[in-house]
């Protein structure tokens, strides 16, 4: 059966529109391509060290 307290925890207060816009402007997002580029540059550095 549904656990009320557990389910209630999933509901978070919403943001007002002004706050959300500001957060969007300052958000730092990392995606898979960033990770790939980072890994590749690390590999190149390692080869360079050797």
């Amino acid at each position: 059966m549904i656990n009320f307290e557990e389910e209630l925890e999933k509901f978070k207060p919403s943001m007002e529109i002004g706050e959300a816009e500001e957060e969007g402007k300052t958000a730092h997002i990392t995606d898979l391509t960033d990770i790939m580029i980072q890994l590749m540059s690390q590999k190149v550095e390692t080869k360079g060290d050797k």
Partner: protein, 416 residues
């Protein structure tokens, strides 16, 4: 598609003709991201908004610069009543692509419409207040506030979910069901609403079963005759129904397993393969890291060895410097006939470095001057035995001959 490194246009080949970077992995990521975008678009068109957000978020985790996906995600959020999340996505979209971006129009239209913003912000405030009310146990007030939220912003799906949860808690299942159905009208794939509804149906069935049980008992009591109840039940129809259900279940299970087993197995194999690949990548990364660390350790060990040598050299030079000073001081003291002090200097020098003949010789001279014949002979003998090649040999032999009363030639013959 552009090269991830130099941003120049890529042809069909994975290797960039300008900078030579290998774009094969990058291309795969971008293609997968696009596939998720397409899935998100399909789901959004079918009004499976929750499913669409899931696909689009996955798409953006792969490629954050997929502007179309981000703008669509904003629209889907907006449709779900989450205007805050929508604006957030559109703002990010504008930051990534400031020019010719439809997101700019979406945000501008929303912000310029002050009535819309006020309505939305008002609904948000009341929704947040209702959450606080629930925490303090004021559920009646919370329900009233949530109803108001839905009136102000009928697209606010979180409000529907929360009100349904409250109804479930109060065992008002029919009301909860109605609210959840309204939520599902707006978003057919709303996982929260679907989960609540399935739990709800289970609870309603149990409730009905209990009712039937009670009614049956009442009937039995009304008849007042335990035997007569059996006559009212048609056993043959029960058995047939049970058999039909059993056969149907077996058939369904058979068909399902026939159809789904290979697919499941294939999926599991694919999953396993992906996992193995992931682990292999991790292992190779780790082994590379270990290699790098080994190299570093070797370099550090060499450095330590070099420093140890340097320290040893410094210590040795300091010791030899000190010994020279001790001998010089000793000779000075000897010359002013302070033999005891001079002797201390020579003994200290010999103790610090026992492969040097001069402190031994000078110690012997001091003993002789102090008329300690025995010790003087002992020191001269050391010169003759241990330092036979030194410049002090000849003089030591002469003095020893003098002290022992033998000839120098005899002594030389004895020790050479």
């Amino acid at each position: 598609m552009n090269c991830f490194q130099c941003k120049s246009r890529l042809g069909e080949k994975d290797i960039c003709h300008k900078c030579g970077a290998d774009n094969s992995m990058y291309r795969q990521i971008i293609y997968t991201s696009n596939r998720y975008y397409n899935a998100g678009l399909m789901k959004a068109k079918a009004r499976n908004l929750s499913g669409a957000t899931e696909s689009l978020r996955f798409c953006l985790q792969m490629n954050k610069e997929n502007i179309q996906a981000r703008n669509l995600l904003g629209l889907v959020y907006y449709e779900m009543g989450d205007a805050d999340l929508a604006v957030r996505e559109w703002s990010i979209s504008q930051t990534i692509m400031p020019n010719n971006n439809p997101a700019e129009k979406y945000v501008r239209e929303l912000i310029e419409d002050s009535d819309k913003i006020n309505t939305y912000n008002n609904a948000v405030r009341i929704f947040n207040q209702s959450l606080e009310c629930i925490k303090t146990g004021a559920e009646d007030i919370a329900i009233a506030k949530l109803k108001k939220v839905i009136t102000i912003n009928p697209g606010f799906l979180k409000a529907y979910q929360l009100i349904a949860l409250l109804y479930v808690k109060r065992n008002e299942y029919e009301k909860a069901e109605a609210v959840l159905n309204r939520c599902l009208e707006a978003d057919q794939g709303n996982i929260v609403a679907l989960t609540y509804l399935s739990e709800l149906n289970r609870a309603i069935k149990q409730k009905k079963k209990k009712k039937v049980g009670v009614a049956g008992k009442q009937e039995y009591n009304v008849r007042g005759n335990g035997a007569s109840i059996f006559s009212s039940i048609d056993f043959s129809s029960y058995i047939v129904s049970a058999l039909c259900i059993l056969v149907g279940f077996l058939l369904a299970w058979g068909v399902l397993s026939y159809v789904s087993t290979p697919a499941i197995e294939e999926k599991a194999a694919q999953k396993q393969e992906t996992k193995i690949q992931e682990y292999q990548t991790i292992v190779s990364e780790l082994s590379e890291q270990i290699d790098r660390k080994d190299d570093k350790i070797e370099l550090l060990q060499n450095e330590i060895q070099r420093l140890e040598q340097e320290i040893e050299e410094i210590i040795n030079s300091q010791i030899s410097g000190n010994i020279e000073k001790l001998i010089e001081n000793g000779v000075d003291l000897y010359e002013v006939q302070n033999y005891e002090e001079a002797l201390n200097n020579f003994i200290a020098a010999y103790t610090a470095k026992d492969d040097e003949p001069s402190p031994v010789f000078w110690a012997a001279e001091c003993y002789r001057a102090l008329e300690n014949k025995e010790k003087a002979i002992e020191q001269y003998t050391i010169i003759l035995t241990k330092f036979a090649d030194s410049d002090y040999f000849d003089q030591s032999a002469s003095t020893l001959a003098e002290l022992t009363g033998t000839s120098k030639e005899e002594i030389i013959a004895q020790y050479q």
